[in-house]
């Protein structure tokens, strides 16, 4: 009877482990990326360029847009433009935002591209899709909980939860408690 119980425990742990592999990789990669959000943008690559251009005189800010885009060889789809103040023009192009100083001709470009792969894993990890993904992610969390519990009882004997496993599990529980005590 005891052997059968452990066998089912191992089967659940093994098969859940297989099922959870993909999602665990996604959450782990995104976790590493998002953990360092203060140092970098984990979802977007932002490139900033500064150039100067001789702007055509006598034209309104809106009328300057085509010549500026042409002059910069910017072929992205034009979205809109806006003047935050009388001397500045912001031009929005697909993947690029240009800030033009109408007095000096100084142009700051902010080119934004998604980080391939990372954008998608962060999209899922941070639950941007909401809707059905929320339920799926909840199921994954429950599966992880089951993996953790069944993992405790894989091995019998001294290397299991009654021996070495108990010490290591206690260490794993104490470590986060220590950090809460240290920084909490």
């Amino acid at each position: 009877m005891r052997i059968r119980w452990r066998k089912w425990n191992t089967v659940i742990h093994r098969d859940l482990g297989y099922i959870c592999f993909g999602l665990t990789v996604i959450y782990a990669i995104s976790g590493l990326a998002v953990n360092h959000i203060a140092d970098w943008n984990p979802s977007y690559r932002i490139e900033r360029l500064t150039t100067t251009m001789q702007l055509q005189e006598g034209l309104s800010a809106a009328d300057l847009v085509p010549s500026i885009l042409q002059g910069l060889d910017e072929t992205g789809k034009y979205k809109n433009s806006f003047q935050p103040d009388p001397n500045t023009l912001k031009i929005f192009v697909e993947g690029n935002t240009l800030t033009v100083n109408l007095k000096t001709g100084l142009i700051d470009q902010e080119k934004v591209t998604k980080r391939p792969g990372l954008f998608e894993v962060n999209f899922l990890h941070l639950n941007h899709p909401k809707k059905m993904w929320t339920i799926f992610a909840d199921l994954y969390a429950i599966a992880l909980l089951l993996l953790a519990i069944t993992g405790l009882f894989i091995l019998p004997g001294k290397k299991g939860i009654k021996g070495r496993g108990a010490w290591l599990t206690t260490l794993g529980v104490l470590l986060p408690i220590f950090f809460v005590w240290l920084y909490g």
Partner: protein
């Protein structure tokens, strides 16, 4: 005749579907029908404080690190308002810049000291990934923003 009516109905539904597909809903979406002008809110922020409003404008700035705020243009030139959302609850994509948006939320008014304003501007610059110069802060002031609950942004 029935066929024509049926086909026309399908065509209309398809067209409606196309229009609807061109905007994306965030958070709780939009429930209010009446649009409040951003300029009116900025002229009399205290009378709108705590009130739920629907505003409309062009997205001219997005939080690059978390997508947790956007700036919307006002109906008056050279003016904009910040829409702040709870981190993770709504995430605005960088691609929203330059698109028209409708936002529903609660007007929030904060009177900031010079130090608070400097910290606030520094935080915004960090989220934009830009260098911050404290000298650009003009002084203590009133910060009027909208705590966003839902939005619809054209795509």
């Amino acid at each position: 005749m029935k066929k024509i009516v049926f086909l026309s109905l399908i065509l209309v539904l398809l067209c409606v579907g196309q229009v609807a597909a061109k905007s994306r809903t965030y958070g709780k979406g939009i429930q209010l029908t009446e649009v409040t002008k951003i300029s009116t809110i900025l002229d009399n922020p205290e009378s709108y404080e705590g009130k739920r409003v629907k505003v409309a404008g062009m997205v001219v700035g997005v939080c690059a690190s978390r997508g947790c705020w956007i700036y919307l243009t006002s109906d008056r030139p050279y003016e904009k308002i910040q829409v702040k959302v709870t981190d993770g609850e709504i995430v605005f994509p960088m691609s929203a810049s330059g698109h028209q948006a409708q936002v529903e939320g609660v007007v929030d008014v904060m009177n900031l000291t010079l130090e608070q304003m400097t910290n606030y501007e520094r935080h915004l610059a960090e989220e934009r990934g830009e260098a911050f110069d404290p000298a650009t802060v003009k002084g203590p002031g009133k910060l009027v923003r909208i705590i966003g609950l839902g939005a619809e942004i054209e795509e």
